[in-house]
Symmetry: C2
């Protein structure tokens, strides 16, 4: 029996190499990609087991009286790199945030990659390194993953699906159906930064003022808020569809109206300017590092103070109130003094914004 020479393969040519179909085939090329690019970047005990699943301890006392949460999001953003972030950091922040919006502490992430044949390895490494950095900064490890490759023309560079799990502390019960008439509506900062940053890159507008995406992991902000006031009614991050669509969702889920005051909603002047130029309404533009908090009115001041004391909540504001309304309308007193309905986003304002 002739034995093959089991020499080590040459390392991946990150600078000039490209993804081909063998990188998704389950054989030696995939193994090499996983080792040299993914395991090297994400490096953690669970992933380093190199099994098809990650096993890890959850101290039972963490779960005592608490609940688990699970959330998933696909990221198809175009372009892949944008001012203030990229698809890799976004895929970590977005999913950490969806865990945190249950008032939960994130435990771990998984990452599934669907890559188009021909995608540059250098871009893949940049994205994976950015994910790994975001994950380390957030303290939430990517414990398991998967890579698939589709033929050129059957994808668009790279799509990433991340899933997160976490644990809700005892006594915390945050849900979109818990808003009550009289509740205060808070936001953690300026609206529309992410969407405008991505659009400016896409349209090559080159604004004088660089507008950066607000992409950030909000779980430490949420932890501070929950520690101060466990009885928060609703938390949600206004991503696709922006503040307007997210508040409409909550209004319908809770069966309340929401009355906003336009002059209290923080929007950066440069974002306002860009929105005018692009024909967009900042209330419908995606955010990736902001949250909406709805709480009993007596907790609003405490929560605002906690938010403003956190680097990611410095511009937090009270922007409205929940009201009795069997139609569950979101309305707004405009800066001009009129009143208008803030309806759902009807069509697609900004495709592939996350």
């Amino acid at each position: 029996m002739t034995l093959p020479r089991r020499t080590h393969p040459r390392p991946l040519d990150i600078a000039n190499g490209r993804i081909d179909l063998t990188h998704g085939g389950g054989g030696r090329a995939m193994q090499q990609l996983v080792e040299e690019l993914f395991v090297a970047a994400f490096d953690n005990d669970a992933l380093n087991q190199r099994n098809d699943q990650a096993a890890f301890d959850v101290p039972p006392e963490m779960l005592r009286g608490g609940r688990m949460v699970m959330t998933t999001d696909g990221y198809v953003i175009s372009p892949l790199f944008f001012p203030g972030g990229d698809i890799g950091s976004l895929a970590v922040h977005g999913t950490v945030n969806d865990v945190a919006m249950a008032g939960a502490r994130p435990l771990s992430l998984s990452a599934g990659f669907i890559i188009e044949e021909g995608f540059p390895l250098s871009d893949l490494k940049r994205i994976v390194d950015s994910m790994a950095n975001a994950s380390r900064e957030a303290g939430v490890p990517v414990v398991t993953g998967d890579t698939k490759v589709v033929e050129k023309g059957k994808g668009d560079g790279i799509f990433i699906t991340t899933t997160g799990i976490g644990v809700v502390p005892p006594g915390v019960n945050v849900s979109g159906d818990r808003a009550r008439a009289g509740d205060a509506v808070l936001v953690s900062g300026t609206m529309g930064d992410h969407g405008v940053a991505v659009m400016s890159q896409r349209e090559s507008l080159g604004f004088d003022t660089a507008i950066l995406s607000d992409s950030a992991a909000l779980h430490t902000l949420v932890a501070d808020m929950v520690a101060a006031t466990p009885d928060i009614h609703v938390l949600r991050d206004p991503t696709r569809g922006g503040l307007a669509s997210t508040l409409n969702e909550i209004a319908v889920q809770s069966g309340v109206g929401i009355a906003l005051r336009e002059s209290d909603i923080p929007v950066r002047p440069e974002v306002k300017g860009a929105c005018e130029l692009l024909g967009l309404d900042p209330l419908y533009v995606a955010n990736e590092g902001k949250l909406i908090c709805i709480c009993a009115p007596e907790h609003a001041d405490t929560l605002l103070a906690v938010m403003r004391a956190h680097p990611l909540g410095r511009d937090a504001a009270l922007v409205g109130t929940c009201v009795e309304d069997s139609h569950a309308f979101v309305t707004m007193r405009t800066a001009m003094g009129g009143n208008r309905v803030v309806d759902w986003l009807a069509g697609e304002q900004l495709p592939r914004i996350c």
Copy 2:
């Protein structure tokens, strides 16, 4: 202030409708798709909360002394519908199996959909219904999900990424690095059925004998095995790259050689015939309802008996032995009496087989 009429939108036209970009936009069209198609099919308490994440109880006694597992897989199979299954059932079975291959009991699944503009709603409904059925049959609910839409030509119909979590019972420690020289290598049934079923559909070969995919959820089989013999060393499902690539992975992880006996490896005659026609080796062809089990030799008979008593393990067989080998080669005594090396899959034998 003029209020919009909040009439109910017309229900989705499943028979003739198609996905457009608004279905991924975060607005009303997405809301409708999620309600009428996804929530209606998957219907469970956690999902019905309609939050961006699912919250559920995990009884602390389940975790006492045990560990959690998390796993993710992207499904890009082409064609979407194949003899014996479709991308929807496959996305449930494949991820349930990756949880089970840790010896774990699956708790819940998430599902992320990336859909190409123009995709028929009727196909989407067929796929989602199939996922929901597979999930109900397995007793593992899809508790949360996400939908993104990409422009026509930037995807390929539909990609699905499912993530699963589960709990490993106390005393169970299954991992790819635990194979030892002397261990028995078992498989739960015939090799190559899934890959050949998909290829036959793709190439429109129309074999006389219908070859069906073996796609199935193996967690109840694993539960029976673990109950009989908690000290199983390795479990893994030989999907992409087939038995040969999976055994090579295990051999390297564990630092052992693996000696197979060709005549003991179960392969259906019609699969063998189709492989000859297609120029494929059944040992490299994907399976989606089979497992490899490596255990101490004294447990082999018990485990074989347990497997054969389960409907998904009727054709279980002892196919080889782990041996001392610092090179971690997989070798095979052929039916002709020779010996050959069973190397890694070098290239891409069957693109997009899962």
